[in-house]
Amino acid sequence: MNLLTVTNLEKSYKKIKAVKGITFHVKQGEVLGLLGPNGAGKSTTISMIATLLKPDAGEVIYNGTDIVKNPKAIQENLGYVPQEIALYPMLSGKENLMFWGRAYGLKGNTLKKRIEEVSEIIGIADRLKDKVKTYSGGMKRRLNIGVALLHNPELIIMDEPTVGIDPQSRNHILDTVLKLNKQGMTVIYTSHYMEEVEFLCSRICIMDQGEIIAEGSKEELIKQIDGARDLKLRLENYDDTLLAKIEAHPSVVSIEKSDGDIIAKIKQDTQIIKDIVDMINEHGASIMSMDVEEPNLEAVFLQLTGRMLRD
């Protein structure tokens, strides 16, 4: 079932068209990734879903209700983790949790219990009494997430929740997201780290310059870019006629030498490795090492845009 449907969504700032008519949906219980480089329009898209910005055009339907007309329909069920740390640095961790819990209508014992649970989940229980401004970057990030979990939302949107933190906090956050998802929470996860998105998301939308340029599971996306695997070879006793022969194979896209290594870009083809090994043997060369690099989303992005996700 679709929890959220976004149709032809558009948004311009004064000069820039930040989101150019995108369409996608989020299924109940999944982790949807929004992957894209800086300025792709991820935050703008998310802000519209979170009712913070009014779209110029298009609609956002949450559980059958148009949230542009009726923001309340999503607000109570949404946990929103902004890209920036949106906390009160002068207040303690606990005071922040109390404040935001109340802002979501929690009270009394329920609130107390949720604060305990959430601080356990995000692992800051021992620092609750300290002012947030004394927290490390990673702890602030975790509290930033914790605040969005208090009211047990049905859907949580995280906008680059791991920017600028240590690997430990980052792993903690990624594990938390998976745990929450297992408990039934639907997640929209935004990032420009492809590893995170590959690790977490069952489905991924790749965004660039205000558009969704590809969508699907990791495997589906990779399948879309035929010929993106790298076959790395190190050979002895060979010459260029061998390379020319390999390049002529219909499943080889290109071949090039880079200091001693030979890198062949090959398409998905069960026969290809065997064919190449045969050619090498026929030629009388010997294989010192051989390695197939599995394609990743970076390669997908490169293929689609000619640029790297991050520079």
Binding site: K54, Q75, L78, M90, L91, F99, W100, A103, Y104
Partner: protein, 442 residues
């Protein structure tokens, strides 16, 4: 709702800097007033509690600038007869700042050392001083020109205060800010008065020298008293000019607090907590109500401090308690109303400068028209006609009513004004909120 209010208050009370602003500023202001009008002023505070070391950097050459003044007066204005060593001595801005202000007025709290820029930086790093003040180039020149000129007014706005970044010095450096800033704000106000008086003298052909007594009193340290010319009600008390200015300055100062809430709200949009609250379903209007109470409370606290301080330390007699409390409450209400409006505009236009414009233009204008500097009766007629625009007139009138021991009923005109003023701005805010577009806040 209560949740928001509690959060706003916590934010004030946990933040040493804003607390310093709220608590020290009124005291500093009153002590400056004491200095300006009453001369020496001592034993006001135990020095151990707040003792701050500051540096003062003179970015100017005194002799050069005095020479430049002479040149300007003699050659540019062709008014050599007004230039004399006596004037230079009487209005010496260095004496005023160092002796009258730093030593006599706040000397209990601050000790200073004159140093060079490099020395100051080094001392700050070494934690020997908590802040330093840079008196800019042309400080002396501009000061003299201001005292003498009619139109050629130069505001002393570039006073730089450099504070220590060490958080344990937050309070001390906050305090320095809150003492130095009002000093120069007051000086600037005196400049405004001076200009108005000069201008009025020209425009209305008032005999030269008519305001000299007043001017002198405000600008120098004379013990002289100026009787407020308002006494025609038989049996009522007379009050000293000092009492009058205590109220006048207070009526002006509380207006400065109107923009505190706007600034805090703007900070929330910058910190993204505002946006997060919106996502949580909290309406802008709800946040504004909380902001309203924040401003109102601040103004009440500040007025309370100024009233207490001035009555204990400066022996100002505020009259009947009832009268006092009513005006305190209603003036806070009115200021909170205008504060809400400023906050709404600030958020609507995503522009923190709206608060500053208010402080520098509107507050000064209202203070002038409302009689905070000189009694409305003494203002040029054109200005008197405009005084209905000013909240100060009512606040002042309200407090004076008590000081003159007049019956409460005579205050109605002022209380009504304050209520209507507050309500009008609340309505304006509500209207303005409707026009806010969810364009972009980041």
């Amino acid at each position: 709702m209560l949740n928001l209010i509690i959060k706003d208050f916590k934010n004030i009370f946990y933040d040493i800097k804003s607390l310093a602003f709220i608590l020290i500023m009124p005291i500093a202001l009153m002590s400056i007033l004491g200095m300006a009008l009453q001369g020496v002023f001592s034993d006001t505070m135990s020095s151990d509690v707040f003792s701050v070391q500051i540096g003062v950097v003179k970015d100017y050459d005194y002799a050069d600038e005095v020479a430049k003044v002479e040149d300007t007066v003699v050659n540019t204005w062709n008014a050599g007869e007004y230039f004399s060593d006596e004037i230079i001595n009487d209005f010496n801005p260095e004496t005023s700042f160092f002796n009258d202000f730093l030593e006599d007025s706040v000397g209990e709290m601050v000790s200073y050392t004159v140093m060079t820029n490099e020395e100051a930086d080094a001392a700050l790093k070494a934690d020997e001083i908590q802040a330093y003040v840079v008196l800019p180039k042309n400080f002396v020149f501009n000061s003299y020109v201001n005292f003498m000129a009619v139109e050629d007014v130069r505001y002393l706005s570039e006073i730089k205060i450099v504070s220590s970044s060490n958080p344990s010095n937050d309070f001390a450096s906050g305090m320095v800010n809150e003492m130095i800033t009002p000093y120069f704000a007051t000086i600037n106000n005196f400049v405004s008065i001076n200009r108005v008086v000069n201008q009025a003298t020209l425009d209305y052909s008032i005999p030269a020298g008519a305001f000299d007594g007043l001017r002198e009193e405000m600008m120098s340290n004379t013990e002289q008293r100026y009787e407020v010319p308002k006494e025609n009600i038989p049996g009522s008390k007379t009050i000293s000019s000092f009492q009058y200015y205590a109220v006048g300055i207070m009526a002006m100062f509380i207006l400065y607090s109107a923009s505190i809430g706007a600034r805090a709200m703007y900070d929330e949009t910058k910190e993204h907590t505002f946006q997060r609250l919106e996502v949580a379903g909290a309406k802008f209007s709800k946040m504004s109500v909380s902001n309203f109470f924040r401003v109102m409370l601040i103004v009440m606290v500040q007025s309370g401090i100024m009233i207490t301080y001035s009555s204990v330390m400066l022996k100002v007699d505020w009259g009947s308690i009832q009268n006092l409390l009513i005006v305190l409450l209603l003036s806070s209400f009115a200021v909170a109303g205008v504060g809400t409006f400023i906050a709404t505009l600030t958020v609507n236009f995503n522009n923190p400068r709206i608060g500053s414009v208010f402080e520098f233009a509107v507050v000064q204008m209202m203070a002038l028209l409302g009689g905070s500097f000189i009694p409305v009766e003494v203002l040029p007629e054109g200005f008197q006609k405009l005084s209905f625009l000013s909240l100060n007139a009512s606040v002042l009138g309200g407090y004076l009513n008590g000081m003159y021991d007049r019956p409460l009923i005579e205050m109605l005109e002022y209380t009504n004004y304050m209520i209507i003023f507050g309500l009008a701005f609340i309505v304006l805010s509500l209207v303005a909120m409707k026009f806010r577009r969810r364009e972009s806040l980041s």
